[in-house]
């Protein structure tokens, strides 16, 4: 949707005449994002209209929940990205020699259930 690859024509839709879906058109993605930005702005502006009752003093800060949500998620993602350096391994990391062949079977394990 907002992936860089999505702003180009998707590979399968490119030349084979496949129907264009909603988010195949970059314009629709832009529309969605604009609507989203508008919602965010309105939500912050709503604080001028709605009087929030506050239990804890931190809550009283203007836009506390908006700022907290944004910062929390950025910190979460950046920290998790750093965690990858420490804990990310190949998919066959736990497979011993005897069971290595089985790891591929596991990848498409859903097929094991199809038609059963």
């Amino acid at each position: 949707m907002i992936d860089k690859a999505d702003t180009q024509q998707p590979p399968s839709a490119a030349g084979n005449g496949e129907k264009l879906y909603l988010f195949d058109k970059p314009k629709n993605v832009q529309r969605l994002l604009r609507g989203f930005y508008l919602c965010c702005t309105l939500l912050v502006l709503a604080e001028f209209v709605i009087h929030r009752h506050v239990v804890h003093s931190w809550e009283g800060l203007f836009g506390f929940y908006a700022i907290y949500g944004f910062v929390a998620c950025v910190v979460l993602v950046l920290a998790a990205t750093q965690m990858r350096k420490l804990i990310m391994r190949n998919e066959d990391y736990y497979d011993t020699d005897s069971s290595a062949a089985d790891s591929t079977a596991n990848d498409d394990g859903g097929n094991g259930n199809v038609g059963r």
Partner: protein, 567 residues
């Protein structure tokens, strides 16, 4: 329908028996649907709180069926979950899965209506032994090994529960399952037993290991029962245990980091499940009426919205054979119904207003502020933003949108779509008319989730969490989905301990071989030689003796005898 004091697990066990005996798939499917529906209606209309039945086993007085508001709530929930699960799995012809699912749901019902610790233990083990077949049902070498690890954790939990129950019986002389609290070793053992099944930090890896390894339908059952029975048991046995506030906060926070970088989308949901149980455990730890209501209401909602999310990912796996975020994308084009239903589940788990998570999670958050746990409240707010990030956005985004994987498929069979639709309707219904759920809760607190402040602040939190996702994506800072796994606590027993044993084996191996070859083996050879020298074919004891020497020895013995006679 049938006698009110008939424990609800009995129809499920009887159904499993009939399923085992019949060869007709249609009959098995019909029983699978009918039993949860009839059982649920029976429980709703015929069974009231305050009912207790007694049975005597040796000198123990057991209570196999005891009802109150708390157990009835979970009883209704498990009937709904069993019905939705059986409907979702209607196309499955695998008899093992069907029987295991019925026995598993029956065990969960047996556990929540157990009035004493011994009955609880029996169904606790029943949960373990029946659910493991749903892990093994994938029938791959990987799922077999995973199932074994799963079973070890589950059985260990049962053993701890039994040991704790016996210690409590020794001290108090009663096996009744009421508030246990933390005093004495027996209560600690029971807390640990409950903690394993609830996925306490460090004891959680059986969950993230096994749930993504089951079949698309099996995981839906797994996600509904074991952990929720444990939440029920904690709510009954350990309400107001302060330690649980911090345990719950840890459970809510740490899995979201793993969920962000996890590639297997069902494993993302498994981490997300621990995160949600964290809210419940925290509420139980606070122990006020509002917090306990919040904990059990959230358990109720979680079974439905997490079930919906697992069903939508199960549908993706069923239709495409793939479940890794790196392999999926743009499925909205050909699985539009599944996409919408998944989004409803995502909105519910993220606690958007008008969706079910909103009306239950907020009770725990409000109770935290009321009891002045501000730091924990901030941590839980972080977890609430995080869950939207990984379960609310990541799951639908990477499966149905993101990059075009080129996969063109279709929505799953009608029964799977119907099961998901029922769950989605329940999510919206409970979120929009919370009074129905609130009337079933153990306490009447008069809480109302819908006021302007709460709606505004929660919507702000969620929209700006989404804004962070958009910003990180546009800046290229969002970690891409990679074909990989992430190490967790299981590394200790899946890698460290086995490799240590191998290393120790290698280190002591050579001296051991040397010792064996030259010392032990040499010694054994010598012993063998000596034995063969005396007892072998040519050995001393095997020789033929000449008659002359025999006579000589007889004569000597007789002389000796004579001499002794004279003495």
């Amino acid at each position: 329908m049938w006698a009110a004091d008939l424990p609800p697990f009995i129809p499920f066990f009887a159904a499993a028996l009939i399923m085992a005996l019949t060869r007709s798939h249609a009959l098995r499917a019909a029983i699978g649907i009918a039993v949860p529906v009839l059982g649920g209606l029976h429980l709703w209309f015929d069974v009231d709180p305050g009912l207790t039945t007694y049975r005597t086993l040796f000198e123990f007085q057991l209570m196999p069926f005891r009802t109150d508001q708390l157990s009835l709530l979970f009883g209704y929930l498990f009937h709904i979950a069993a019905f939705i699960g059986m409907l979702y799995a209607l196309h499955i012809r695998d008899r093992v899965q069907q029987i295991a699912a019925m026995l598993y749901a029956g065990s969960a019902l047996g556990a929540v209506f157990a009035g004493d610790l011994l009955t609880l233990f029996l169904f606790w083990e029943g949960l373990a032994l029946t659910s493991v077949f749903l892990v093994w049902a994938r029938r791959s070498k990987t799922s077999f090994a995973t199932g074994q690890r799963y079973l070890i954790f589950q059985v260990l939990s049962g053993v701890l529960l039994l040991a704790g129950a016996l210690l409590i019986y020794r001290d108090s002389g009663s096996l009744e399952f009421t508030k246990i609290g933390l005093d004495g070793p027996g209560s600690w053992l029971i807390l640990l037993a409950f903690g394993i099944k609830a996925g306490f930090p460090g004891l959680h890896t059986w969950l993230t290991d096994a749930y993504p390894e089951s079949t698309p339908t099996g995981t839906v059952f797994l996600a509904s029962f074991t952990t929720k029975v444990s939440v029920y048991a904690l709510a009954r046995g350990f309400p107001g245990t302060e330690m649980l506030i911090y345990v719950g906060a840890t459970m809510a926070c740490f899995p979201i980091f793993f969920a962000v970088i996890e590639n297997d989308l069902r494993r993302v949901l498994a981490y997300s499940m621990i995160n949600q149980i964290g809210f419940m455990v925290c509420g139980i730890g606070i122990g006020t009426e509002l917090a306990l209501n919040g904990a059990v209401a959230h358990a109720f909602n979680d079974v439905i919205f997490k079930g919906l999310l697992f069903m939508s990912m199960g549908s993706v796996l069923h239709m495409t054979g793939k479940i890794n975020g790196s392999d999926l994308g743009h499925l909205y084009k050909t699985m539009p119904k599944t996409t919408w239903l998944c989004i409803v589940g995502a909105a519910s788990i993220s606690a958007f207003p008008l969706f079910s998570g909103f009306v239950s999670k907020s009770m725990v958050m409000a109770a935290l502020l009321e009891t002045h746990h501000e730091i924990v409240w901030l941590a839980m707010l972080f977890a609430a933003a995080g869950v939207f990030h990984h379960a609310g956005i990541k799951i639908p985004y990477f499966a149905f949108f993101a990059h075009d994987s080129g996969i063109r498929t279709q929505d799953p069979p009608w029964n799977m779509v119907l099961a998901m639709t029922i769950s989605a309707v329940l999510c919206i219904f409970i979120g929009s008319y919370p009074a129905v759920l609130y009337s079933l809760l153990p306490y009447d607190t008069g809480y109302s989730p819908y006021d302007a402040t709460h709606v505004l602040t929660q919507t702000q939190l969620l929209f700006f969490s989404a804004a962070a996702f958009v910003w990180l994506q546009l800046r290229g800072l969002y970690p891409p989905e990679l074909r990989s796994i992430n190490l967790d606590v299981e590394w200790f027993y899946r890698k460290l301990i086995p490799s240590t044993i191998h290393s120790v084996g290698r280190v002591i191996g050579k001296p051991a071989v040397f010792a064996w070859r030259y010392v032990v083996s040499g010694l054994l050879d010598k012993i063998g030689d000596t034995l063969s020298r005396h007892h072998g074919m040519e050995g001393t004891l095997a020789r033929t003796w000449p008659i002359g020497s025999m006579v000589l020895w007889v004569a000597i013995l007789l002389v000796a005898y004579l001499l002794l006679g004279y003495l």
